[in-house]
């Protein structure tokens, strides 16, 4: 057991009013300084390539989705947010997702899916806001997840720069 004794107050402190005046003077001084808070929805946060927003699927320049429904992101996701059903396509790649769902309420924006993907098909976008009237609407399907490659290019370049050394040393194909 520890007995904590209060500090004895000095006479000036016990008089009360001088301390009030001191506190108010600080408040008054701060009124004229530049605020450090932000008017969030009107003034959005600055975003750059390091921002890890919600994951999005890359649509390549030829209009096809890059994902082959390999399921690597599904198994890497620690929040079990991703569900994929694959199927056959006539494109030379043979395989594509027929259903690709990310439950945005589960997603913890960790970026593991981006890291796991062997096809550069899923990247963390800079989209952060998430609100809707029902839970079902926040389970995003293929159509809601697709983004043209150009919209994600900044992040793609960043991830490549980050991984460059690793990629160079272990590439097999």
């Amino acid at each position: 057991m520890v007995i904590v004794r209060r500090k004895e107050l000095s006479l000036r402190e016990r008089l009360y009013l001088p301390e009030i005046a001191r506190g108010l003077s600080i408040t008054f001084r701060k009124l004229f300084e530049k605020p450090i808070t932000r008017q969030y929805p009107e003034e959005p946060l600055p975003k750059d390539e390091v921002t890890r927003g919600q994951p999005r699927l890359v649509v390549k320049d030829d209009g096809n989705i890059a994902c082959v429904s390999c399921g690597m992101c599904e198994i890497a996701c620690p929040a079990y947010a991703i569900t994929i059903d694959g199927g056959e396509t006539d494109r030379p790649i043979e395989r594509e997702p027929k259903k690709f769902e990310i439950d945005m309420l589960r997603c913890i924006l960790c970026g593991f899916c981006e890291e796991a993907c062997p096809k550069d098909a899923i990247f963390m976008s800079d989209e952060l806001e998430l609100a809707d009237y029902s839970r079902a609407a926040l389970i995003y399907d293929l159509e809601k997840l697709k983004r043209p490659k150009s919209a994600l290019q900044k992040r793609i370049d960043y991830v490549y720069r980050l991984n460059n050394r690793w990629r160079k040393s272990s590439s097999t194909s």
């Binding site: 399921g71 198994i75 569900t83 694959g86 199927g87 056959e88 062997p118 097999t172």
Partner: protein, 481 residues
Amino acid sequence: MTKITVNGREIDADPKKPLIAACHENGIDVPMYCYHPGLRPVGSCRICQVEVKQGDAPARVVASCRTPVAEGMIVNTDSPKAHDVRRECLEFLLKNHPLDCPICDKAGECDLQDYSFAEGQTKGRTHEPRRKLEKRKSLGDVIVLDEERCILCSRCVRFFEDVTKKPQLTVADLGSRSVISTFLDKPLKGNYQGNIADICPVGALTLKRFRFQARVWNLSKHLSTCAECSRGCSVTAEVLRGGDTKRFRPRFNPKVNQWWMCDTGRFAFAHVNAADRAVALRRTADGLEACDLDAALSAAASALRGKSNVAVVLSPFATNEEAAAAKALAARLGAKTCFVSPAPNALKDDFLHTGDPCPNRRGLTDLGFAGLAAAEVAGAIAGAGAVVLAGERVVELLGAERVAALTGTRVVLFDTHCVDAAALDACIGVPVHVEKDGHWTNVEGHLGRLTIARGAPRGVRALDENLKRLSELVSPAGAKA
């Protein structure tokens, strides 16, 4: 039995089997691609090499699938030399491998992946472009061949030579241009093609009906028995996320099907995956309406109570446990019993398929149920006061029109789907065979096990349980009927 020493452990080996089999049977892992316990060994892939010392000769590295066991042999599967040759062998196998694991159906259960992980080197040293071959070559209705992925182990070739005894595949061309091909590029024939996709150690042979439907690690695998004929091959039912059954695959059973199964059974999903399952319905003044199980059972009981001349008709898919419960119910009701016996089909062959699409004929017959053809059943129940139809697909096999035509007979139905019949008083859902525990007795008397691979639809209970409850409701134990 021959005594040999493997990794310092003395084991008894069967002299008729190669060294690799002795290792596997004693729980010592030796990689293999071309060897398969059900096929003639050829020793073409060299991944199974181990170090062997015999007598005074220096230790040498041999292919364990082509080496007979000899008394006093000292085997080391783990020596640096053995690992080294296996790593080199993998490097050659991977030299032209497309490494398209992200799109390959075999990923996750691929021997090439597994052994590369265990023994291979992490870096490729090739600079040349990889061999380009045909990636989607159809070999008939069942199989697609990816020539790039094939490692030319020739298991598929030997399957048709050794197991079905009707050769259909061959290694065409020579050297690095070798590819697997059917004779004159004709499509594969027969009811056993699917097996070559199972035994292909890589993803070169894939099933058209499974391709890309699911990643194998998302499938939960459960013991089951094939429902398509009275052979009752032991299978694994593989279920995707508790929903659809995506695959049936043969499960090794030395007494019934060894490693194999037929394509009819392999692709028999239509019924197990059917939608719109019945749960519980009863007849009211305005026709059939959904209700809870208790209400449906009491409607069933009042339809049966006090009726004379009752019949209990089982489906040929009823398990022994369900049949026993049906027999007890019949005894309480003083009812006749029989099961609907589907007609033999033309699939009979000299390998596995018996041509009798009734997986539990032997079990039901042993329990005293007579197998009657649908028309005979209809004749037998024509004048009955009430009839209990029980088991999955009983209406389908009896003919919905025969049930609809019944007049003066009240019907209690236990089936996966309801039928529109004026005589129907209650319909209670049953689990399909991948949703229940039980046993079927196959044509030779072996018991085939069924386990719960996925839950039945909400509200559906086991058929034997419901039949027992119905017996209680119709005439409570102890009371005189």
